[in-house]
């Protein structure tokens, strides 16, 4: 066999090996966490808040963290959506190629790559400045900042795809820019908007470093925006850090719950995007 063919075959072999290695590594994350988490899971993990002595191995569950995480992610997603939807509309409609547009996109991309710990530190700095303690509200704001660039940039990309003919048809009927944005672009880009929202939600619910200082941790379900709130990622982190095997088991179970939530969100986003594609004119 000639040398060139040999080289080609060698590299194809390497490529397939690498693909298997990377996929195997990533799949092993799923498999290990699901397999070790499942046996540790129980009904009381899902339905109870920690009782006295929980962190020494006594009974209770992580309902506080589950509810806390859902509150945090929902609040953050709501705030981020309110800011990012108009931003994305503006970027794709008014500033498609302008200097402002490219600068805004660039700074959003930078924001996207900012480590989540920085959001936590920044959020906490602002909270100290305002005299607030670690609270649900603080966590929501930090996570909203984290979600903002993800949502805006994904929506922006999707809105760019809306064919200009569809928009022109709307303008030709006498609709203003705002009316077109609301009734045509939002409707046409709906599958992408749904994807963007769920993607950002999934990112927020799994993030630990940004809520570490801002939302704090508590054994109770928060009753107001100014109560501290627990979250699932931190439940994994803190319980894993205790020296008791029973409690570490619960960290595995919490990891299982978190992973299942994130994966089902991801699958749901694909499904919902498909369903909402019904309204799209092709």
């Amino acid at each position: 066999m000639d040398k060139r063919k040999l080289e080609e075959n060698f590299f194809i072999g390497m490529m397939i090996a690498s693909t298997l290695l990377v996929l195997g590594g990533l799949m092993s994350v799923l498999i290990v966490v699901l397999l070790r988490g499942a046996p540790a899971l129980s009904i009381s993990m899902l339905t109870q808040t920690p009782k006295g002595g929980y962190y020494l191995g006594k009974e209770g569950g992580v309902l506080n963290a589950i509810v806390g995480s859902i509150y945090l992610a929902c609040g953050a997603t709501a705030i981020a959506l309110v800011i990012s939807l108009p931003t994305a509309l503006y970027l794709s409609e008014h500033a498609r190629k302008s200097k402002l547009g490219s600068f805004a996109r660039q700074s959003l991309d930078v924001l996207w790559s900012v480590p989540s710990i920085i959001y936590g530190v920044f959020g906490f700095t602002i909270m100290v400045y305002l005299g607030m303690r670690a609270s649900l509200l603080g966590g929501i704001v930090a996570l909203a900042l984290l979600e903002l660039p993800i949502m805006t940039r994904v929506m922006d990309e999707v809105m760019k795809m809306v064919p200009s003919k569809t928009k022109e048809a709307s303008y030709a009927l006498g609709a203003t820019k705002a009316e077109t944005a609301l009734n045509v672009i939002c409707r046409q880009a709906l599958p992408g908007i749904v994807m963007a929202v769920l993607l950002a939600f999934g990112r927020a619910i799994g993030d630990a470093a940004s809520v570490l200082f801002t939302a704090g941790y508590t054994d109770y379900i928060p009753r107001s925006l100014f109560d501290p709130a627990a979250s699932l990622p931190l439940a994994v982190f803190f319980q894993l850090g205790t020296p008791f095997p029973e409690v570490q088991q619960r960290a595995y179970a919490s990891g299982f719950i978190l992973l299942v939530i994130v994966l089902s969100l991801s699958v749901a986003s694909r499904f919902l995007a498909k369903r909402s594609a019904r309204y799209v004119i092709r």
Binding site: T19, P86, D109, V110, V114, I117, G202, F237
Partner: protein, 298 residues
């Protein structure tokens, strides 16, 4: 002016202000962190802070050197582990893989990219730590708890591979088909074409993908914090524990409000992280714009 016009005007003003707001966040963040780190910058010089390895916060000595070295080593090592297989995989997906395989693998990579960092950390504690302690370290003839720099690097390398793969795969696919066909027509094999034509054209974009992965690894906090050992010393081997900057911030910030200088030192660490990531992200964007412009259709 009629109400529809008025509504339109209001809507565009509102949209404009949200754009300005979201644009300013990065700058506000940097300024806030700078303002809070002024205290330590006034008392100590940057050289002293970054090059001294004496970390004794209670005596007012804040040498970041061990933490910076820890961050750089773990990140660099993670890139060494993850770049070659990720690049080979993205070449495979974009050039060789049958459509069926790509159709399955690509969504899987997207799905796996969304796994939260604590889950990676948990995986590290459950699988990688014992693996390093019981097999790798034994084979290398050293003893370690398994909570070591190499463990952090392995966890990070798996974590950042999806971003490197998806960005570089996308870039490789933008190389025009004509360029490949010209090379094939000259009698080059497929691999020669990949090596001399496709990858050469896609090179800046692939570099951008690697930079993005580096940036992600550099600032990653929880997954690393859980497996890397967190001992404030300059690591001297792969099996030594390290203490990267984000872990330092996560472990100490918030409780240290009572000591203004300590608080300020941690803010400086956060500012440093932010600036490095900012630099990387701008560099990656510039490279990607270059690639896209070169192959802009029309």
């Amino acid at each position: 002016m009629n109400t529809r016009r008025l509504k339109d005007l209001l809507a565009s003003k509102l949209m404009f202000s949200t754009v300005i707001l979201s644009m300013l966040i990065v700058f506000v963040m940097a300024l806030a962190l700078l303002q809070r780190s002024m205290l330590i910058l006034r008392t100590q010089s940057l050289g002293e802070l970054f090059l001294s390895s004496s970390w004794h916060p209670w005596q007012g000595e804040f040498g970041f050197y061990p933490f910076i070295v820890g961050t750089l080593w773990t990140t660099a090592l993670a890139m060494v582990f993850s770049v070659p297989p990720s690049l080979l995989m993205s070449i495979y997906l974009s050039e060789y893989a049958p459509n069926k395989v790509r159709g399955i693998v690509k969504p899987m990579i997207d799905l796996l990219a969304g796994i939260p960092s604590v889950v990676f950390g948990l995986w590290g504690v459950l699988l990688v730590v014992p693996f390093i302690r019981d097999y790798v370290a034994v084979a290398a003839g050293v003893t370690t708890t398994g909570y070591a720099m190499i463990t952090g690097a392995i966890v990070l390398s798996i974590m950042v591979s999806p971003i490197i793969i998806s960005v570089s795969e996308e870039v490789i696919r933008t190389v025009p088909r004509e360029a490949r066909e010209a090379s094939i027509a000259l009698g080059a094999t497929k691999w020669q074409t990949v090596k001399h034509v496709t990858m050469r054209s896609a090179f800046p974009g692939v570099v951008a993908a690697v930079i993005l992965g580096f940036g992600r690894a550099f600032g990653e906090t929880m997954a690393v914090l859980m497996v890397v050992g967190n001992v404030p010393q300059v690591p001297s081997s792969l099996f030594d524990p390290a203490y990267p900057l984000p872990a330092l911030i996560a472990n100490n910030y918030g409780e240290m409000m009572s000591i203004p200088l300590y608080d300020s030192a941690l803010m400086l660490a956060a500012l440093f992280l932010l600036l490095v990531v900012l630099l990387f992200s701008v560099a990656a964007a510039a490279l990607l714009v270059g690639v896209k412009r070169r192959y802009a259709i029309g």
